[in-house]
Symmetry: C2
Subunit: 267 residues, 2 copies
């Protein structure tokens, strides 16, 4: 689709495509990631991902152009503020939307070096998924897998909560549990499934499991936890807690990844 | 305000009061906490907090009545589904809203036993604040303080993210930094301020600080971190991370509280 220098109508096909991607929580029909905020534009430009175009509200045009100018050939299209406000449902886009080509990864790239892969099983909340990607990068995970049935990694809210880590951490999505289990088995990867303390009476504590081996950490659905197929194939690990039924899924993942990094840095 | 057996109009003063509280992110004008979802109703009934009334959509009336029946004298008011849908902006209330008297705590109650107090300094996101309360309870914190300028602990989104911990963890809010510092000093409480790894070159790692002492952990604003006044009075602690600028504030708090609990359980 051709991109003009300015767009003045909310009926413009590119704006409509962006709006639909935000509403649907996925890529645009042309296959682009919707990166809202100046910060995510900066993160996209720091990454290896292609940036197709930057849509900027008139009022933030100069800031967007200064940022986009860091990489040659990135085009900024100016949109009147009232039209731009209709594109994003949230107040937090800051009037900047970049369309970024999603990175493509091969399975092997998730297992480079001493593997630490995060597998998301049925995770529904894009904020949780993004926060986990951010923690995965922070604590040196080698890759992430969004199993079939998870929220889309390309949901603009996932990308926002990842604070840009989605542009850097190798990930796959839409995979079957059986295929992923086979890939883990083939590589001799140990599987750990996070379970709430109330269910994990027989589970190990994070300090009791060996995260220094090649391993994968499975984080389940916010309400139902890890599914039976993966759980049966994994060693259960529970963070000791008191009083609460469970921790937030992203927080549990972050704590387990912190523990893995702690073990790996002292091993 | 009198509460009838059923409400049929969105213009009903009680419904309007609830809607405003949700929009404003605080208590109702009558001073009640808005607890959305059947789960939060259950948590309120498990706590010592008074439950004034339960508003239930017609379609979930029996589930709400069964839950409310666990405590004598809790009144359920039935509201037609379309009217109930106008009360909450989100899709996630599940048609149940309980009005709960907010717990009241004295400063001393935050320091019972071996103190571990979480102080929030300028935190804006209700989801983060609530997730921190949930982790605080999970890891045995003795109390929490929302400093002046933070999101309201009574924001319905804070309560939701706390998954009910807000009904149980002793907390204060709207306090000045100077007064809180004086209270910490008077009790001989050690202060730790969480700072991102990129800023905390001279900061200690979580394993290097002593969380077994009476202590307080200060978590700052999502963008600006801990303010200068509190930071100057505290020892800085940084979670070692790579690649990212920082962790999500709630995740950082959860990891530090996990580490505190780990130290306390093995000390």
């Amino acid at each position: 689709m051709a991109t003009p220098e300015t767009i003045t109508s909310a009926a413009n096909p590119l704006l409509k495509d962006v709006r639909r991607a935000i509403a649907r929580g996925g890529l645009t029909e042309q296959g682009w990631c919707v990166a809202e905020t100046l910060h995510l534009l900066e993160e996209a430009l720091r990454s290896d991902c292609e940036v197709k175009v930057v849509l900027a509200a008139e009022s933030v045009r100069s800031a967007a152009e200064a940022q986009a100018g860091r990489r040659a050939g990135v085009k900024v299209v100016v949109v009147p503020d009232p039209v731009m406000q209709k594109v994003s449902a949230t107040q937090t886009s800051q009037g900047v939307v970049a369309l970024v080509r999603p990175p493509e990864w091969r399975l092997d790239q998730l297992f480079r070096g001493r593997a630490l892969v995060v597998a998301l099983d049925g995770m529904q909340d894009p904020g949780n998924a993004g926060a986990i990607l951010r923690a995965a990068e922070a604590f040196g995970a080698t890759g992430a897998i969004f199993l079939k049935g998870c929220v889309s990694p390309y949901n603009p809210k996932t990308l926002r909560a990842s604070a840009g880590s989605l542009f850097r951490v190798p990930f796959l999505h839409g995979r079957d549990a059986a295929a992923v289990l086979a890939a883990f088995k083939q590589r001799g990867v140990r599987l750990y499934a996070a379970v709430p303390a109330r269910e994990g009476k027989a589970a190990r504590s994070p300090a009791e499991v060996d995260f220094t081996a090649n391993c994968a950490l499975i984080i389940g659905n916010e309400a139902r936890g890890v599914g039976p197929e993966l759980r049966a194939a994994a060693l259960e690990v529970s963070i000791p807690t008191a009083g609460v039924e469970s921790l937030n899924a992203a927080m549990a993942a972050g704590i387990l990844l912190y523990e893995a990094q702690r073990q790996r840095s002292t091993a």
